[in-house]
Symmetry: C2
C-alpha cells in the first residue's frame, strides 16, 4: 500500500491512498483525515486503507484523480518525532578518517542517533530555502521508517513489528555549521534544517523480497542537476537494521505512533557506486588528492533522490528539490 498527504486541508494535509505507480490518488476522509490520524489508529484503519488501495489499483474508484507530486506534502507534513541514526559505518569511518581519528569500538555495537527537528518537513518537490551558500548545503539520501506505538525497552526483533511505513528522506545538512555546533557538545541544531521526504510512504510488503524485515535491499539513487551522483545499496553495510535503531531509540522512553526513524546517509565500503551525500565525496577527494573539489549545493542546484525497483519503477516517487536563496522581508520599523 502507498500513502501520501495532499497539500490541502490544513497544516497536516489530507491523507490519500496512491495507486501502485503513484499516478493516481484518492482521498479517504471516511477512514482517516490525515496521515497522523491513520498512524494513531493504525490497527483499526489498516485493513480499510488496504481495501481502498486494492480497488484503486483495479481502477474501480470513480473519485480517483491524477496526481502531481507538487501537490504533495511530506507523508507526515509535521511529526512528533524524527530520530535519525547513522547506521552505515563506512560513512562514520570516512568521517573519522578524514580528521585523523579512530572509530571507537563501541560504534559497532551502539548506534549513533540524533534527535531531529520535525515541526516543518519539506514536501518532495519543495524548495530548500538557504540563507547563505557559505553554510555548505549538502543532501543526505536515506531510508526512514514510521512506527506505531513502541514500548520502552523493546528489543530489536520485536521492534521490527512496529515498522508500519517506509519512506525516503533528504536529510538536508549545512556542513560548514556542523563542526562548531558539535564542538559545543549538544548535538545538531543549525546544521540540520528541515528534512524532505518522498511522495509516498509505503507499507513494507510493497518491497517484496527487497525487504528483509529490517533493511531495504535496493540501491538508493541520487542525482545533482541531472547527473548521477551515486546509487549505493541501502541494504549493504548497514551495520544496524531498523529493528536495532528503533530499540536504541526506545531504550529509556516509549515512542509515540508516527515516530520516524532514519537510517543515516547510505554508504558502502565499495565506493564504485558513488555517494549519498556530497561531503563523503569531498572527504575522499581530500584523502586522495589533498583537496576537496566537488562543491556543496549552490542556489539553483537541483537534487533528485529515488529508489527504483527491478522493473525500473520509482517505488516511493522522487524527491526533487531545488536550492533557493532565502530572503526574508523584515518587519517595518
Amino acid at each position: 500500500m502507498k500513502l501520501a498527504s495532499l497539500k490541502s486541508g490544513g497544516r497536516d494535509g489530507t491523507l490519500v491512498v496512491l495507486d501502485q505507480f503513484g499516478d493516481r490518488a484518492v482521498k479517504v476522509p471516511q477512514i482517516a483525515p490525515t496521515m497522523q490520524s491513520a498512524l494513531d489508529n493504525w490497527a483499526d484503519v489498516e485493513v480499510e486503507l488496504r481495501s481502498v488501495y486494492r480497488l484503486l489499483n483495479q481502477g474501480k474508484l470513480n473519485d480517483a484523480f491524477a496526481l502531481d507530486i507538487k501537490q504533495l506534502h511530506a507523508p507526515l507534513p509535521r511529526a512528533y518525532q524524527w530520530a535519525d541514526g547513522s547506521a552505515y559505518l563506512p560513512h562514520v569511518e570516512l568521517v573519522r578518517k578524514s580528521r585523523g581519528a579512530e572509530v571507537p569500538a563501541s560504534f559497532y555495537t551502539d548506534p549513533l542517533m540524533y534527535q531531529g527537528g520535525s515541526d516543518m518537513f519539506l514536501g518532495p518537490a519543495d524548495a530548500i530555502e538557504l540563507a547563505d551558500e557559505a553554510y555548505g548545503c549538502d543532501f543526505e539520501a536515506e531510508v526512514a521508517v514510521v512506527t506505531d506505538d513502541v514500548p520502552m525497552g523493546v528489543d530489536a526483533e520485536e521492534a521490527r513489528d512496529h515498522i508500519k511505513l517506509i519512506m525516503l528522506v533528504n536529510d538536508v545538512s549545512l556542513r560548514n555549521l556542523i563542526p562548531a555546533e558539535l564542538e559545543k557538545g549538544f548535538g545538531f541544531f543549525h546544521g540540520k534544517p528541515s528534512s524532505a521526504f518522498s511522495p509516498a510512504a509505503i507499507t513494507p510488503d510493497e518491497l517484496g523480497d527487497a525487504w528483509d524485515g529490517g533493511k531495504v535491499h535496493l540501491a538508493l539513487r541520487s542525482m545533482i542537476n541531472g547527473q548521477l551522483f551515486g546509487d549505493p545499496g541501502a541494504g549493504t553495510d548497514m551495520t544496524f537494521d531498523f529493528g536495532q535503531l528503533i530499540a536504541h531509540a526506545a531504550k529509556t522512553r516509549h515512542l509515540g505512533a508516527g515516530t520516524i526513524i532514519g537510517s543515516g546517509t547510505i554508504s558502502n565500503q565499495d565506493r564504485s557506486h558513488g555517494h549519498a551525500c556530497i561531503m563523503e565525496k569531498r572527504m575522499l577527494e581530500k584523502l586522495q588528492t589533498g583537496t576537496a573539489t566537488t562543491p556543496f549545493l549552490k542556489f539553483g542546484d537541483r537534487v533528485k533522490i529515488e529508489m527504483l525497483n527491478n522493473d525500473g519503477h520509482s517505488i516511493f516517487g522522487p524527491i526533487e528539490q531545488q536550492v533557493v536563496k532565502y530572503e526574508r522581508l523584515r518587519r517595518a520599523a
Copy 2:
C-alpha cells in the same frame, strides 16, 4: 489567560480554559478542540478564548467544573518541537568547573540548545517511569515558552512577539547515561527521556510585572519528598532571554506553531537559594568536599516544581511526580 489539556478525547486531549486560580475549568470545543489546534490558529482564537477566561473568572459559566490536576496532560500532550536551551551560564560554568574545563568565550554569546523528544510528554502528575536507578535520575526545573509560527532568521527582539504561552518544565535527565552519550558527539538521546509540564500554560500577561518580554522574574521552587531543594530566581543570571533563544532556534529554519523553547535548568551565581537540579548540588559537594553525597532520585521519590506569585499562589499549578520502577511485560515467545 490560563489553558490546559484534559486527559480525554484522544492523544491530544481536550483543550480547557482554567480560571485564574486553576481550580475550575471549562471545555471550549466551539473554539478549539485541542491546544495544538488553538496554537495553529492563535490569531483567530485568542480573543474568543480570552472572553471565556473572563466569564469563567466572573463565575458566569454553568458548564465549568472543578479540576483535579491528575486529570491533566501536559498542556501540549505531544508537540512538533521541543528545543531546550541552557541559558543560565552559572549552571554551565559549574558543569565545566567540575570537570576541570574552561567555559569557551563563545558560550556567552552563542546559546547552547538541544533538540528534545516531544512525542510523549508527561502530565504534571504523571509518574516518571525509570527502568534502572543506576541511570542517575535527576529533575531539572525550567521555564518554557510556546511560540506561534516563527520565520527563519527572526531577530531576538521580534522573536519576543512570537511568545504566546509560558509553562514550567521538569526536564527529566538520566545523568549517568549522559557523559558517554555526549562523548559520541550527536547530543542527548537516552539521557533525556520524556519531560513533564505544569498543569497550566499561561499567557505572558498573567505574570504582570514579573514578565519583561523575555524573562520571568520570579523564583522557581523545587522540592524533593516535601523538602525544599531550591528556589533560585528564574530572571536572575539568565544569560539569554527567550527572544534570544527563539532567534537561535530559527537561525536556519522556520519554527512551526506550537514550538516549545526551554530555558534550561535555572541556576544563579548566588547559591544561597539552592538548586533546580540535583546534579548541580552534587557538583558543588564534590568541589567542596571531594565527594558528592546527595543521591539522585530513587524509586518512590517525589519531585514538586512550582512558581508562586507574590501572594503565594501557584501560578502554573504544580508539577508533582513520583519516580516508579518501569517493568515491561515481554511478549510471550
